[in-house]
Subunit: 172 residues, 4 copies
């Protein structure tokens, strides 16, 4: 299987949150992605871009347009986006709409974490691994890779009560 | 994307090694897989089977035949196998030969770890996530998922000096 | 050295905070102390008491009186108290005053953590070990064990800008 | 309590062992102590000395004499020694004898770990915290700080079956 270079666009979210001992709360300092890729011995060519470090609850369409622009400008056509879980489905749908408008297609895989990488019992590494594989293997389209599953944008929702992603309920 | 149930066949390897405080060395006690799948909030249906807990340097074709038998008997046609890295390519090739003989086909994805799950700086979770995605998305065949890459059996080798998997050198 | 049984009174603080994946914030679920003492192979007889699980910024003299009562009622005369760092010095001084009023004496050692036990890079285990030793070796009095140092109540302050405990500045 | 500067003499042992992914076994690379003291926010003045990085099963009286020499040459009279648990009691007794011969006295506290610092579930930080407190508070003498307890050299043994230190059995 010929390895393809993938782009990883970092937008923040729980994945990259870190404990601030002085403030006693979780916040962003820097992305863990560069260190993680080294730790897990990733030899796939990856091009990292810190788009922003934002809590996804604070994300607006202005941010989403910035992410879309990054995807459109990316020389790599296969892209992983780390994103907060709360509005991950919204950004995925936003990209889908924008890509249609622009008449372009990419393979974009969103992933994130329910527990920060820096906290015991994190799902960050598992989710990232799942997304990196998926970005290499999936056809063009916008996807969400969480909970060991692969969802298509527009057909997935976050069950906030359970903290998991599930198939979106569809109208009869 | 309709989720498919996958089987995870556990064979040991560095992935599942644990420090034994009394002996002062790494050995097998039990598999971490059941706990890991819970920790990472995997909601994909998985059927776990502990085939054995062996260091892959100790693996012979007798063990490999046992793994082949497990794959052939598996009701799930998509299978992840956790395996020691040292002879992972050999077992992958063994399965390929045996599946051809039996005239069956499966999607089998091998993965493992260079650093045990129970040790700081482990690649186990990342590799497992990568393999779980790959097992859902790949066509029938035997694959190795390590270092963020997806290799086909027979076309991959372990570079022991660097501790990574690379494309197998092919004869001119 | 004849081992003495010590009491560990748990009051919460950063030490025991845990990430809540559904709320996306740190909160209390349970104390990690019972698990910790097993993990670190503590064979010193310890009697654990969960007095409360509170952020020390929320602590009032009502809480402090409850802690004082626990100390006074304790059959063990050597006591470790896990406590949030922000008002640890206040509770220490409160106990000192109350013990004088009651005419009793105990060896009480406060400790806590700047980074929760459940977060990477925590100081919780180191501080707890320091406090457990100190509680066995110190004469009667109220102490704070943080940053590898042993301070006496009333002679210590928290430098919030640096996140460390230092000798209290004294008037010329 | 006036803080005293302590010396930490590193001799290796399980405490500092690290997983070597290429060899698939635990070995020594470097000491974790400098990093640990920073992580746990130790502000006590400490002077670190790497005496050696040895498995304590390989330690002979030649090594022990080297450790004794380091203690005798130390400008700090309060010393923590990290040491493998298997022969920790022997080195403690060796120092006791040598200090008597030299007519000098120091406060020396041995500690170590049953599980390496770099492995999940390690007792290293707890034991180090306990030893750092003990070294500040104990009178002159040679001690072992393990399992939350403080033992005097010559009156302690390691129960290898249980992996804990206990009071030495004494003749009736």
């Amino acid at each position: 299987m010929k390895p393809v270079e993938i782009r990883i666009i970092i937008t923040g979210g729980t994945f990259d949150k870190e404990y601030d001992p002085l403030k006693g709360e979780l916040s962003f300092r820097d992305s863990h992605l560069p260190g993680i890729l080294k730790t897990v011995r990733c030899t796939l060519e990856t091009s990292l871009e810190i788009n922003e470090l934002t809590d996804s609850l604070d994300m607006t369409d202005v941010h989403r347009e910035g992410i879309a622009k990054s995807c459109l400008a990316s020389p790599q056509k296969r892209i992983v986006i780390t994103h907060g879980t709360d509005t991950m489905t919204l950004t995925a749908e936003y990209l889908q709409k924008r890509f249609q408008e622009e008449g372009v297609s990419r393979t974009v895989v969103f992933t994130g974490a329910m527990v920060p990488y820096s906290v015991n019992g994190s799902d960050a590494l598992f989710n990232l691994g799942a997304a990196v594989s998926a970005a290499q293997l999936l056809d063009e389209g916008i996807y969400i890779c969480m909970n060991g599953r692969v969802f298509q944008a527009g057909k997935v929702m976050k069950d906030r009560g359970k903290g998991i992603f599930t198939d979106a309920e569809t109208d009869g």
